[in-house]
């Protein structure tokens, strides 16, 4: 924010000159002025003297203008030491292009040169918030209807320099045990998770590199919506992309480095993402922090490679696949090779959304011939009708009961229908019904009413 150093121009009355006193002192002055003006009018010079007087006055005025101009230049120089390159009219400008080496300097100068209001994109730190509050109930035995505080997400970005950028998601969240932010501890304890923590370097459109904690580019959903329910059409993520600490089966987060960018492919619009990271900890025990933020339990690193196309011909279409490979080391069990193959085809326009994703999680136990394949998919469709957006989602996941990493998941499938109402540009109300058929438990009917917002 720029703050003017010039004092505000205000006329302050002299001390004691207020109210009727002011009027009493000014009235004689006005009368005196009137008399003087009359006398001056009576003493008008002869025509011969007029020319000499005009020349003299003109000379004085020109001198005064020169003095004022030099004073303005002096003040401008004091206020803005680096002179701005100012476009002078005329074709001669083409021979004097700006100095390329000083782009950053020129940009900042241009901003100060332009008197119009600017946005805050050069501000070092930018903060955006997302949150949601849900009233949720279902028919499962033992579950109660409850108001639930969703994730309070503080999204912080900063343009460190022209090439470097920082972004993070700092999330306050309630755990499954009614604890806000941690999965163990005292009731109603507040805590915080740093869900994303990423410094990015942008060399050009073809090479961007990031390091830190980020969302793994498995499929589409994980890197499209992150921790904001306001961005999502629905009240919650699909089973497949549920967060690790909510029983999700995928390594949603990883700590490592990532490279991404365009692949020269013309109108096909090919992109790549290549990631190396610590991967996730084995899910046993379940209370363990699934993301290896500080220490990896082994030297082996997880790899992920994703390719996707955004063809120019069909704006909004994205088709792609990803391959993820890791090695898990559960406690008291042999090592497990993990491979995740994912494919997606999504079509997203402001008024229309159709998401389709399918994946297979393959776990091969070392030293045996045992292989467990867990397939899953979801399809989601919505269409904007004014401020309303009705939507439908069908999702499916089928894990074996003897699956070594997530034996509790088993078969889950069912439809969800809902309606999103955008009450304003930043607030959305969502009503969603879910039917979930489960092999492990009785079928569940659930209803959720959510307000999601950004601030």
């Amino acid at each position: 924010m720029k703050v003017s150093t010039l004092p505000p121009s205000r006329v302050l009355p002299a001390p004691g000159l207020t109210g009727w006193r002011v009027r009493r002192r000014i009235l004689p002055l006005l009368l005196a002025s009137l008399v003087t003006a009359t006398i001056l009018q009576a003493q008008q010079p002869k025509p011969g003297d007029v020319t000499a007087l005009d020349k003299q006055t003109l000379q004085l005025l020109l001198q005064r203008i020169d003095q004022l101009e030099s004073r303005v230049r002096q003040l401008e120089a004091e206020r803005q030491p680096a002179a701005v390159v100012s476009p002078a009219p005329g074709p001669t400008q083409k021979s004097a292009p700006p100095v390329n080496e000083a782009e950053q300097q020129a940009e900042s100068q241009a901003e100060s040169a332009v008197p119009e209001r600017m946005d805050l994109s050069k501000t070092l730190l930018r903060l955006r918030g997302f949150g949601d509050i849900t009233l949720h109930g279902d028919t499962r035995k033992g579950n109660t209807t409850a108001f639930t505080l969703g994730q309070l997400n503080l999204f912080v970005t900063s343009d460190i320099s022209e090439k470097f950028k920082f972004l993070s998601e700092i999330v306050f969240e309630g755990g499954p045990d009614n604890i806000y932010g941690v999965t163990r501890g005292e009731i109603n304890t507040f805590s915080v998770d740093v869900e994303r923590y990423l410094v990015q370097y942008s060399y050009n459109d073809y090479l961007n590199v990031g390091a830190g904690r980020f969302h793994t580019a498995i499929g589409y959903y994980n890197t499209a919506y992150h921790h904001s329910t306001w961005f999502q059409t629905t009240t919650a993520r699909p089973f497949l992309f549920q967060f690790e600490d909510r029983g999700g089966i995928l390594p949603i987060h990883t700590v490592g480095v990532s490279a991404f960018g365009l692949i020269p492919s013309g109108r096909l619009g090919l992109h790549y993402v290549a990631e190396v990271g610590n991967g996730r900890a084995s899910r046993s025990p379940l209370t363990q922090e699934p993301v290896q933020n500080v220490v990896d339990d082994q030297n082996h690193k997880a790899f992920n490679l994703a390719l996707f196309a955004r063809p120019e011909a069909i704006r909004g279409l994205q088709v792609g696949f990803s391959v993820y490979r890791d090695l898990l080391a559960p406690i008291n069990s042999p090592r497990i090779g993990e491979t995740i193959l994912a494919a997606h085809a999504v079509f997203v326009r402001p008024r229309f959304e159709w998401l389709n994703e399918a994946l297979v999680v393959r776990h091969a136990i070392f030293g045996t011939s045992q292989v467990f394949n867990t397939p899953g998919f979801y399809t989601q469709f919505s269409r904007q009708l004014g401020s309303y957006r009705p939507y439908f989602r069908y999702q499916y996941i089928n894990a074996s009961g003897t699956e070594p990493v997530f034996p509790d998941v088993r078969l889950r499938q069912g439809p969800s229908v809902g309606l999103r109402y955008d009450a304003s540009e930043s607030v959305a109300l969502k009503l969603q019904y879910d039917y979930t058929d489960s092999r492990a438990r009785a079928a569940r009917n659930a209803l959720a009413l959510q307000v999601g917002f950004t601030f």
């Binding site: 390159v85 400008q93 040169a113 950028k165 992150h226």
Partner: protein, 179 residues
């Protein structure tokens, strides 16, 4: 169980068919804009004089104005200049190039920043003079003004091989309201 498996593909197939039909109605082909009426003016896309770019296709312009490209081919970082909301020049760019409403455009940039895919944050200026000054001073800048507001301080680029004064140019704008 076998009965459920049999119904599932039918259910999914019917759903996909319904979605496809709905989606087909949303897939409108790009219709080239009509020639300008007598009262309409052309909108010029302008860059810095040092920028070697001469021509951009509508698709490339769209990528640029949606922040989906962060660098010019010469490696210089792109700085996007937009006029303030409510200005007819901005409305023309959103409608003809971005094919979005004002709120869709805002959401697009917010979402892009959130996902980390958008590196370019638009500068907002109030007047054509401001746009010209900015583009003149920032080598990587790209903006737009009415063709009648162009002067020698900026470079007008071709859009789909056409300059604003040439026949078939696609970016038109209603005339400036008289005071």
């Amino acid at each position: 169980m076998p009965r459920r498996v049999g119904i599932l593909p039918v259910f999914i197939g019917a759903g996909f068919l319904a979605v496809a039909l709905s989606f087909a109605s949303d897939l409108r082909p790009f219709i080239p804009s009509e020639p300008p009426t007598a009262s309409e003016q052309n909108l010029a896309v302008v860059v810095n004089l040092s920028n070697p770019i001469e021509n951009l296709s509508m698709a490339e312009l769209r990528n640029l104005f949606l922040g989906e490209r962060s660098h010019w081919p010469n490696g210089r970082r792109i700085t996007l200049v937009m006029m303030e909301p409510g200005q007819p020049e901005r409305a023309a760019v959103l409608s003809l190039i971005c094919q979005m409403s004002e709120s869709d455009f805002k959401n697009h940039f917010l979402h892009g920043l959130f996902t980390g895919e958008v590196f370019v944050s638009p500068k907002t200026l109030a007047t054509p003079v401001g746009v010209r000054k900015f583009v003149f001073n920032v080598p990587g800048a790209i903006g737009y003004v009415r063709a009648t507001d162009v002067d020698a301080s900026v470079k007008v680029i071709r859009v789909d091989e056409r300059l604003p004064e040439e026949k078939g140019y696609k970016l038109h704008i209603p005339p400036r309201p008289s005071k």
